[in-house]
Amino acid sequence: PLKPHSQVFVTFPGELVSNMTDQEFAENYLEQFGYISKRTRSSRQVSLGKALKQLQKQLGLQETGDLDSNTLEAMKMPRCGVPDRGS
C-alpha cells in the first residue's frame, strides 16, 4: 500500500491572492461589466439581486437573483473584457 503522503502547503510569492469577499468580488464584477454603475454602487442604491438576474440571463444561468455558487463560478471563468451592458 502507498504510504500516507504529508502534503506541505506554501504561500507562493507574487501570486495574486484576493482578500475580497465573494460579495465584494461580485459587486466589482457587476460594475466592471456594466450591470451596476459606479455611482449607484457607491450610493448604495443598487439592487444587487436585479443586477445578478440580468447577469444570469446574459450567461444563460438560472435567474435566481442570488449570488449562488453557479453564478460565482461563472464570474470566475476566463472571458472577454468588453462590458456586457452599457458603453
Binding site: 502534503q7 506541505v8 502547503f9 506554501v10 507562493f12 510569492p13 507574487g14 501570486e15 495574486l16 461589466f33 440571463k57 446574459q58 450567461l59 444563460g60 461563472a74 470566475k76 471563468m77 476566463p78 472571458r79 472577454c80 473584457g81 468588453v82 456586457d84 458603453s87
Partner: protein
C-alpha cells in the same frame, strides 16, 4: 445578438488591420495565420474584406500587452480577462488588445514551431522518441552546443525529422535587430547580463542585447518563450529550471507539491528554497484564433451575445471544429449584409457543351436542364408571397400558385397548384396566411382584405378595419400563432396581437417588432410559425427564432425549407 448603441459600424467594407507586436508564446507566423483565419470567419459571411498593413494607421490595430498597457482598461494577469476590443471608429476605436499574461496557443497546449533543421518549420511532436527515450519538451540532449531541438514526428530514431525550438540563443523578435540572436553576456546600464532580462522595461517583456554592449550599440530584441516558459507567479516568461530544489527535495519536472489547487508549477532557478522564483507550467492555453475572432466581432460592431454557443458569448471555451453560429451570422449581416460567398447552386451543364451533345445520354440531360418556367419551379422563385404551415404541410404561395412540402421530413415538393382551385375566393397574391390552431380555420390576408376558410366555407373578403387595424395599415405581411387563441400580425416595423375568437386586435398594440424580436429584419416580407419556431423572411433568407426569442439559425429558404437541390 447585440450591436453597440447606435449600431456602430465601419462606413467602408475594405477594412485594414495591422499587427503591432507579437506574444513570446506563439511564433509570429502562427500568430499572423491565427489573425488571418479570425478575420476570414467574418469575411466569409459578409461583403467585408480585410487587408493587412505593415505600417501606418489601420482600422484595426492589434497588439499584445499586459496589465496597464496604455488604455484605461488594464488587464488582470493570468486568466480572468483575456482580451478586449473597441467598436468601430477612429483612433483607438476598432483596436483589439490581447492580454500577454495569458498563455497563447491554438487551444490545445504549447505549440512549438521549429526553425532550421530538416523539417521545413514543422511543429514539434510531443512526445517524441530519441535514442529509445521519450521527450515531452524540447531538449538539448544529443548536442554539444546546448541548442534546444525537437522531433517533428513521433519517432526521431526512425524518421530523423527535426528542427530547433525557439530560444534566445536562436533568434529574437521585435526590437531593432532584425531577429538576430542574443549575445551573452551583454552590458546594459553598466551591468553585465548573461540571460534575458525584464530590467529597463515596464511592460514585463524579456529582452536581450544582440551585441555585447547595449549601452553602446542600442541593438536589442525580445526573447521568445521556450516551451518550458512559465506563466504567472513571479517569473512570467522565464523557463523552468530542472532539476530544482523545493523544501529540500529535488524535482525534475513540474509539480503540484506545495499547492492546494493541484496546479503544476516549477522553479525558474535551481533552488526555490533560496530564490523563491517560480511560475505555473504551461497548460492548454487559450486559442488565439478563437479569442481573436471574438474580439474582431467587437471591432466590427457586435456586442456580447447571450447565446451560449455563439462566438460573441462573453466567456471563453475551446471549440475544436469551429463554425460561426447563426446568431453571429445574423448579427454581422444585420450590420453589413450578406456576402456574395460561394454560389450554393451546383454548376449546371449547358446544352452547348460538345461532350453532352455527342453522348447518348444527351436526350435525358437536355431534358433535365431545359430552361424551366420559373413560375412552375419553386426552386427558381427568388422569394415567396407567403409561407405557412397548413395541416402539417408547409405551403409556399407565389403569384396565384402554391407548392407544398411535408413538415415531417425531406419529402418531395408537390405542386404547383392554382390557389383558386383550392380556395376559389382568394386573390392571386397572398401576403400571409395562418391556420388557427384551435379551430383549424384558415385566415388569408391580401392587401387590406382578409378571408376566413372553414373547410370549403368562406367568409370574406373583409376589411382589415374589422380587425381594428387603422387605414394606415396597407397590408399584413406575416403572422405567428401564439396559442390560447392569439395570433401576432406583422407589418414591417410594427405588430399587433389578434384575438382570433373575437377577431379584433388587443389593446396596447401595435408594438415595435425590433423591441420584441431583436435580431431579425424589421422589413421581413413574411413571418410564420413552423415547428414551434418563428421564421422571419427577407429576400432569399430566413432568420429562425426560438420561443425564447433568440435567433438560432439563419438560412436559405429554398434549400432549408423547400428542400431544393
Amino acid at each position: 445578438f447585440q450591436t453597440f448603441e447606435g449600431d456602430l459600424k465601419w462606413d467602408h467594407n475594405d477594412i485594414t488591420y495591422r499587427v503591432l507586436n507579437y506574444s513570446p508564446d506563439l511564433d509570429a507566423e502562427l500568430t499572423d495565420d491565427a489573425f488571418a483565419r479570425a478575420f476570414k470567419v467574418w469575411s466569409d459571411v459578409t461583403p467585408l474584406t480585410f487587408t493587412r498593413l505593415n505600417s501606418g494607421e489601420a482600422d484595426i490595430m492589434i497588439e499584445f500587452g499586459s496589465k496597464d498597457h496604455g488604455d484605461p482598461y488594464p488587464f488582470d494577469g493570468k486568466d480572468g480577462l483575456l482580451a478586449h476590443a473597441y467598436p468601430p471608429g477612429q483612433g483607438v476605436q476598432g483596436d483589439a488588445h490581447f492580454d500577454d499574461d495569458e498563455f497563447w496557443t491554438l487551444g490545445t497546449g504549447v505549440v512549438v514551431k521549429t526553425r532550421f533543421g530538416n523539417a521545413n518549420g514543422e511543429i514539434c511532436h510531443f512526445p517524441f522518441r530519441f535514442e529509445g527515450e521519450y521527450y515531452s519538451s524540447c531538449t538539448s540532449e544529443g548536442r554539444t552546443d546546448g541548442l534546444l531541438w525537437c522531433a517533428t514526428t513521433a519517432n526521431f530514431d526512425k524518421d530523423k525529422k527535426y528542427g530547433f525550438c525557439p530560444s534566445e540563443n536562436l533568434f529574437t523578435f521585435g526590437g531593432n535587430s532584425d531577429g538576430e540572436k542574443c549575445v551573452f553576456p551583454f552590458i546594459f546600464d553598466g551591468e553585465s547580463y548573461d540571460a534575458c532580462t525584464k530590467d529597463g522595461r515596464k511592460d514585463g517583456y524579456r529582452w536581450c542585447s544582440t551585441t555585447a554592449n547595449f549601452d553602446q550599440d542600442k541593438k536589442f530584441g525580445f526573447c521568445p518563450n521556450r516551451d518550458t516558459a512559465v506563466t504567472g507567479g513571479n517569473s512570467q516568461g522565464d523557463p523552468c529550471v530542472f532539476p530544482f530544489t523545493f523544501t529540500g527535495k529535488t524535482y525534475s519536472s513540474c509539480t503540484s507539491e506545495g499547492r492546494g489547487d493541484r496546479k503544476l508549477w516549477c522553479a525558474t532557478t535551481s533552488n526555490y528554497d533560496t530564490d523563491k522564483k517560480w511560475g505555473f507550467c504551461s497548460d492548454q492555453g487559450y486559442s488565439l484564433f478563437l479569442v481573436a475572432a471574438h474580439e474582431f466581432g467587437h471591432a466590427l460592431g457586435l456586442e456580447h451575445s447571450s447565446v451560449r454557443e455563439a462566438l460573441m458569448y462573453p466567456m471563453y471555451s475551446y471549440i475544436e471544429d469551429f463554425r460561426l453560429h447563426p446568431d453571429d451570422i445574423a448579427g454581422i449581416q444585420f450590420l453589413y449584409g450578406s456576402g456574395t460567398g460561394p454560389d450554393p447552386n451546383p454548376p449546371e451543364p449547358t446544352s452547348e457543351t460538345p461532350d453532352e451533345v455527342t453522348l447518348p445520354e444527351v436526350t435525358t440531360t437536355t431534358t433535365e436542364i431545359a430552361p424551366v418556367d420559373p413560375t412552375n419551379n419553386p426552386c427558381k422563385v427568388k422569394y415567396f408571397d407567403a409561407i405557412t404551415q397548413i395541416q402539417g404541410e408547409l405551403h409556399f404561395f407565389k403569384d396565384g400558385k402554391y407548392w407544398k412540402v411535408s413538415a415531417a421530413g425531406q419529402g418531395a415538393i408537390k405542386g404547383p397548384v392554382q390557389i383558386s382551385d383550392t380556395w376559389p375566393a382568394l386573390p392571386a397574391t397572398i401576403d400571409t396566411a395562418f391556420e388557427d390552431l384551435l379551430t383549424k380555420k384558415l385566415f388569408f390576408f391580401s392587401g387590406r382584405s382578409f378571408w376566413v376558410y372553414t373547410g370549403k366555407t368562406v367568409l370574406g373578403p373583409r376589411s382589415l378595419e374589422k380587425l381594428g387595424l387603422g387605414k394606415d395599415v396597407e397590408k399584413i405581411s406575416g403572422s405567428l400563432q401564439r396559442g390560447q387563441g392569439k395570433v401576432l400580425l406583422f407589418n414591417g416595423e410594427k405588430y399587433w396581437r389578434l384575438d382570433v375568437k373575437a377577431q379584433v386586435v388587443d389593446k396596447g398594440y401595435p408594438r415595435y417588432t425590433d423591441e420584441s424580436f431583436a435580431g431579425v429584419p424589421t422589413d421581413s416580407h413574411d413571418v410564420f410559425l413552423y415547428k414551434d419556431k418563428y421564421y422571419f423572411c427577407q429576400d432569399r433568407f430566413y432568420w429562425r427564432m426560438t420561443s425564447r426569442r433568440q435567433v438560432d439559425q439563419v438560412g436559405y429558404t429554398k434549400y432549408d425549407l423547400l428542400n431544393c437541390p
